[in-house]
Amino acid sequence: MSDPATPGDGRVVLGPDDVSRALTRIAHEILEHNKGAAGLVVLGIPTRGLPLAHRLAERLASVEPDFDPQTQLGSLDITMHRDDLRRAPVRPIGATTLPASGIDDKTVVLVDDVLYSGRTIRAALDALSDLGRPRAVRLAVLVDRGHRELPIRADHVGKNLPTASTERVRVMLTETDGRDAVLISDAASGGEG
């Protein structure tokens, strides 16, 4: 987990209010497309996809009382399905918890913080296929920064952020980093995880 940002981490492109509004809009979009809450399973991808999924679930439940986070919220860790494990020291495995009723025939909404190359989502789709057969899979992300390397697109986007590949996008959330913000900086060292 990262520490609260210090000046020099980049310029803020989304502040706390922007993040909140984006999540509210995404929640409405999800319910609109699904025509309600029935059959939805929201799965956050660790690390920051998880708190985002939790916040989405709260909003879904407040708009649509039928939505029950106890049985319609979970996490999906994709470490074991990554295609780039050899490029870094071995990673810890995050938790995968599915609702008891599983994902068969459900509409799974994957939630992540940043959509970039698309490889994380590709791994998530592989992981999902080992767990069951959803009726449909949709993707909600807080930020889409372009530069896709695979034919993957998000259904719900908080903010489209065109970036140069030399730039670094950093999402901070209160649950993990102490504040809500999305920052862009010029990369000095290393890429994103």
């Binding site: 860790d77 020291p89 071995v90 990673r91 495995i93 995968t96």
Partner: protein, 321 residues
């Protein structure tokens, strides 16, 4: 972590990490599709100089569930055979491109030699060397203890405060040595129970208590009792026998129904297998609801998956920027 040679090499953080990883992997083993693609393209060699179907199958299953290729190398090597066996075998494995070598050998220190000799580049996993160490057994034992005895949430947890009795032939047991090391690291308190002839000179230096009296130890209400296998051969060598005979052994050190009843209701009964039913453990005890012996076997696969994952999935230090 480059190799897993001894439980004594694992610090607290690494041990907990292995257990946490095993817990996540155990969840995958409960699903219909148990296979994960993570170690695809990697080659794991089972190099077993001692017969052991159950441990070998456990490692083989673990490797295959991670999509690794598995090669089983059953080498013949008695303790008097020349070292060419180990060295030449190792060079052959290196030429075959082994990424990991799981080795079981009758000579203590053989995995250490393999890991440090420069004969192979592979990660070395000790599946049991002589009377020295069997670290994955201790890990699966610790995992089993944690699952049953530590709260509902086990992630990040160790075994602090738990009291475990390890009973049997400690002198010849690599399982005992590994468990004393690992359980101590994880904060548990271990009491070894054995007749004096089956305790090594120097055991006083180990981080555990020692007792010759099983009933006294059981009365202190341990949270778990781990029974070690006693080999019948040890009872029979004339003048060199460690014990008068099986009957006296069971009477004084066997876990029977009477002793089982003394245990607190939450306590679990463990055994690394294979069991001598009627010798160190009675059928009632082995089949009782408190016995987790069969579960230990299943946990072994998850723990070994975790070990292989942590050793092989990431880049080697030299390859990673």
């Amino acid at each position: 972590m480059d190799h897993l040679l001894s439980a004594a090499d694992l610090d607290h953080a690494t041990a907990v990490r292995i257990l946490d990883t095993a817990a996540e992997l155990a969840a995958t083993q409960g699903r219909e599709i148990k296979k994960l693609p993570t170690l695809r393209g990697r080659t794991v060699v089972n190099l077993f100089f001692e017969d052991s179907t159950r441990t070998r199958i456990s490692f083989e299953t673990a490797a295959k569930r991670l999509s690794a290729d598995v090669i089983n190398f059953a080498a013949k090597g008695s303790s008097v055979s020349k070292g060419e066996s180990l060295k030449d075998t190792a060079l052959t494995l290196q030429a075959m491109g082994a990424d990991a070598v799981v080795i079981r050998h009758q000579a203590s220190g053989a995995p250490h030699l393999l890991a440090n000799s420069g004969w192979v580049q592979a990660a070395v996993v000790n599946a049991g060397d002589g009377t020295h160490q069997h670290p994955t057994q201790a890990l699966l034992d610790a995992y089993t203890l944690r699952r049953h005895l530590v709260g509902p949430q086990t992630a990040g947890q160790d075994l602090a405060g738990l009291r475990v009795a390890v009973v049997g032939d400690v002198l010849h047991s690599r399982v005992a040595r590994s468990n004393v090391d690992l359980l101590h690291t994880l904060g548990a308190r271990v009491t070894l129970v054995a007749p004096p002839t089956l305790l090594p000179v120097g055991v006083e230096a180990w981080p555990c208590d020692v007792s010759y009296h099983l009933d006294e130890v059981l009365e202190q209400a341990p949270d778990a009792v781990m029974m070690l296998r006693v080999q019948r051969e040890r009872m029979s060598s004339a003048g060199g026998g460690f014990f008068p005979g099986p009957l006296e052994y069971s009477r004084r050190y066997g876990l029977d129904a009477r002793r089982l009843a003394v245990l607190p209701s939450h306590a679990i009964v463990m055994h690394p297998g294979p069991m001598n039913r009627g010798l160190e453990i009675s059928a009632e005890a082995a089949d009782s609801p408190q016995a987790v012996i069969v579960e230990q076997v299943a946990n072994g696969v998850a723990v070994r998956m975790a070990v292989l994952y942590l050793l092989l999935a990431g880049g080697r230090r030299e390859d990673v920027a």
